[in-house]
Symmetry: C2
Subunit: 224 residues, 2 copies
Amino acid sequence: MAEQVRAIRTRQAILSAAAKIFEEHGYQAATISQILGEAGVTKGALYFHFQSKEDLAQGVLAEQDQHQQLMVPERASKVQEIVDVVMLHAHRLQTDPMVRAGVRLSMDQLAQGLDRSGPFLRWGEVGCTLLERAQAQGELLPHVVVPETADVIVGSFAGIQSMSQAICDYGDLVVRVSALMRHLLPSVVVPSVLASLDLAETRGATVYAEARKAADALELAPAG
Amino acid sequence: MAEQVRAIRTRQAILSAAAKIFEEHGYQAATISQILGEAGVTKGALYFHFQSKEDLAQGVLAEQDQHQQLMVPERASKVQEIVDVVMLHAHRLQTDPMVRAGVRLSMDQLAQGLDRSGPFLRWGEVGCTLLERAQAQGELLPHVVVPETADVIVGSFAGIQSMSQAICDYGDLVVRVSALMRHLLPSVVVPSVLASLDLAETRGATVYAEARKAADALELAPAG
């Protein structure tokens, strides 16, 4: 058990180091030696967890979605749940270096040989699942094609965050994401649902506090 | 006159070389020597046109918008003109290496020390100008805040192109951009205008052919 905990910690230390090095040098220029130096682990430990530089990058890429999906509490309105996932992600981009590193890597159009499609496809699936539930309970307009709408949300979010980073290092991210939601949702959601949505800029921080509390309660609970 | 033409050609050759090197190595890792080697010009010629690596990158970044604005013919509907600018840009991204390089650089979140905000801000201004004209002639819904909507269009386009590049190297770009327009415009445009818009996936290619013809006619015309 102690060994397992140690292994998880080592893996996290390596991923944090990889995230930092990828952010500093870009995927292309980063080397495994730099990551080793930053993580302060042995070569053997690193290769036990990760086979290659691409493998390390995929680990960092995966961090952004794994954390995410666990954390948004269920909502009666599945459209609100989508908004909450998006707004929480925006909030975490502003505050969590690991989430930030994962997103930057997935936006690194210069990273040759790195398959960056994973996060887009996985986020697309999250979007599809939630939109299908919204559709099933009558929240969506009749013309909506779920995979198309999911991809529009995922793709446009990716660009809005990049623009916010370029212009003011994420200073206005939640404002921009709230504006994006107000622009996209009227063509997707029935008016009665639209009117009841919380699209405020503060939504991400609120959901984060709520989700954090739920996660902490779960960790304190005895394992089954 | 001949000298001026030569200078313009040299500048273009240097920019093309810079675009290629930035795409291959990323902004961070690229060096001026590599660009010199690729362009096949003297150091003196390069420094006559560009002072530094950042200056070269700004030159490549500027290429994507300068070409663009000249080329879309005026439309009676300013919203259609916006759609045409966006669709033409998507088409050129699929077909023009220089436009592609400029966009990739502006999306390079790892390019430290490079101010990538320029293209976002300049595209935002293009959007504002056209949206203001649309607003003046009653094409927009009353609640629209022009700079906000311009930024949503620019930012979301940036992400949609990045997603398309990551998933299939721009193979489905025009399909995705058409879907984006269909999702954004209903919350921006009055219904009667919306119904008359051409948002087809083929729109970019059509506008390109039209604009190319106009540009060629202009070049053939005697200078005033």
